[in-house]
């Protein structure tokens, strides 16, 4: 007897099997006590997990209001205990030092703006990497990744080229050796 895998039994216990698989599994379970036991284990585990997910409700809005109030209180207390500051504290920033500090901050800002400037959108990947078939008076060329390869250079004098929108180019000519019309079809993929 071939037993269903653990995955199948677990999915069956959770009623997540498709109808066909469910029918097959039910038929097996009817005659297999070992698998019935496995399913019972999975079902019990599911019930335990369902019980664990029943966490008590948390009053999020009240908690948020309390946290905001505590932050405001902390800031106000900080203002109360801070000694008064005079401009003399910043005297060291006068003259050349001040200019250097200002220049440094300006350079930092410029560098940041340069690095975060809106870049032009990159060329579409398809445009850069797609294989391109090209029919010219000289024949059919394949261009891919900047490389061009001539695929067909018909030596006949009068060649008719026609493109197929499904991704092909045909070259039609009268073969000078055989006198037969010959149609070469080159596919882009």
């Amino acid at each position: 007897m071939t037993h269903p895998g653990q995955t199948i039994l677990a999915l069956y216990a959770g009623e997540d099997l498709g109808w066909f698989r469910r029918l097959r599994t039910e038929r097996h379970l009817a005659s297999c006590s070992a698998c019935r036991a496995e399913v019972a284990t999975f079902s019990a585990a599911r019930e335990e997990l369902a019980g664990m997910s029943d966490l008590p409700a948390i009053p999020w809005s009240r908690l948020a209001a309390e946290m905001k109030a505590n932050i405001r209180l902390g800031l106000a207390a900080g203002e109360c205990v801070r000694p008064p500051q005079s401009l003399a504290a910043f005297a060291w920033l006068s003259g050349g030092r001040g200019f250097a500090a200002f220049a440094s901050v300006a350079a930092l800002l410029v560098a940041g703006l340069y690095l975060q400037r809106p870049a032009p959108p990159p060329a579409p990947l398809a445009a850069r990497q797609d294989a391109v078939l090209r029919a010219t008076a000289n024949g059919i060329e394949l261009n891919q990744g900047g490389q061009t390869l001539s695929l067909l250079h018909v030596r006949a004098g009068d060649v008719t080229y026609s493109a197929g929108a499904q991704g092909s180019i045909r070259a039609r000519y009268v073969d000078s050796d055989t006198g037969n019309v010959t149609i070469n079809n080159v596919y882009v993929q």
């Binding site: 797609d130 391109v132 026609s162 929108a165 039609r172």
Partner: protein
């Protein structure tokens, strides 16, 4: 001194290894004709075929002359061969079709394969190129072959065009004599010489326009033929400068039979009003089935770019017409010559393979040879 000599020897060896190598006639090209095929291989000549390395790939220049034998009881009208160096990447696969044949049972006929194919240099053992028979079309339009390239429909359409154009030249010969025939052939040769031609680029699966110009949705104007089994209803393509992409055309089957293939001829007009045949647009859905009266869509996820030499052609308008229909029973419809003339398409479209062949017979051998050629059919 010794090191310089070693470098020189290595350079010469590298240069020699990069040179063209003739193909080994015994195992380079494999010609596969099934045992029950109506054609048998009489001879193969690899001529100047050669292989040369190019980066991580090898380039195969094929100059193969095959002689095939018609071992069937029917006259052969066309043959298509699938030539494969590798299936997956571009440049690895091509086909060679020879329509407008008239090979009686028991006769031999030549087929030339002049192609260049690419394949990775690191591929497994086996032949470099495989040539498989994709299809053979007979005089009664019966077909043999695996038809991987849908060559049954293509060759049937070419054969119908051949019958149509031979009938046209024969009727002129009957009504206006050899002078009338000469005039008709000269008119055809003039049309072929003066037909406006463009350089066309085909890009598959190109979802984003590459042109810097703004893109707009342009509506197709349609040319309708009175006897066409399928009517174009409306269609659009995205146009940006010299690039047109994603043609999508709604068609309706107005015949009493189900249709399984529709092909739209696509003409573009430049800013000076000149019209060019741009491409054929077959239905993308290989499982198309259009019952009588029903509508369906012909669309392709392709971009086409047009230029003449280095000059880009600005697309000012697009026109479409139904150029081919295949019914579910395998029968094929093509426009008749009167419809093409009335729609002034003869000067825009390429001549049929048979018209090209017949005018070539006239050009190389004169009017008497053409009359003899027409008398064969």
């Amino acid at each position: 001194m010794c090191s310089k000599l070693a470098i020189l020897i290595a350079a010469v060896a590298a240069a020699l290894s990069a040179q063209e190598t003739p193909l080994d006639p015994h195992n380079s090209v494999q010609i596969n004709l099934p045992p029950d095929a109506p054609l048998t291989l009489v001879s193969e000549n690899l001529g100047e075929s050669h292989v040369s390395p190019r980066g991580s790939a090898v380039v195969l220049d094929l100059d193969v002359a095959l002689t095939l034998h018609n071992s069937s009881p029917n006259r052969v009208r066309g043959v298509t061969l699938l030539v494969t160096a590798q299936e997956v990447t571009p440049g690895g696969k091509a086909s060679v079709a020879v329509p407008s044949l008239d090979v009686a049972p028991g006769l031999n006929f030549p087929v030339r394969i002049n192609l260049r194919l690419l394949r990775p240099s690191q591929m497994g053992a086996g032949p470099l190129v495989r040539v498989n028979l994709d299809g053979v079309l007979f005089q009664d339009l019966s077909f043999y072959g695996p038809n991987r390239l849908d060559s049954r429909r293509s060759m049937t359409a070419w054969e119908l065009e051949a019958q149509r154009d031979r009938k046209y030249f024969k009727s002129i010969l009957a009504s206006r004599g050899i002078e009338g025939l000469k005039q008709a052939v000269l008119e055809s040769l003039n049309r072929q010489a003066e037909r406006p031609r463009l350089d066309v680029q085909v890009i598959r699966g190109h979802a984003v326009a590459s042109s810097a110009l703004p893109e707009h949705s342009a509506q197709f104007a349609f040319l309708r033929f009175p006897d066409s089994p399928v009517d174009p209803l409306e269609g659009y393509a995205q146009i940006s400068g010299n690039e047109a992409r994603e043609p999508r055309i709604e068609v309706q089957n107005r015949s009493p039979k189900p249709v399984r293939y529709v092909e739209i001829g696509w003409i573009v007009k430049d800013s000076q009003g000149r019209q060019y045949m741009a491409a054929s647009v077959p239905n993308a859905d290989a499982e198309l089935f259009l019952p009588p009266g029903r509508t369906g869509k012909v669309l392709q996820d392709t971009s086409l770019r047009f230029s003449r030499g280095s000059d880009k052609i600005s697309i000012a308008g697009i026109t479409g017409f139904v150029s081919q229909v295949e019914f579910a029973d395998g029968k094929v419809w093509i426009p008749n010559r009167e419809s093409l003339a009335n729609a002034q398409l003869l000067g825009i479209l390429a001549p049929s393979p048979e018209e090209q062949r017949l005018t070539d017979v006239y050009r190389k051998k004169g009017p008497k040879a053409l009359v003899d050629e027409l008398a064969k059919f």
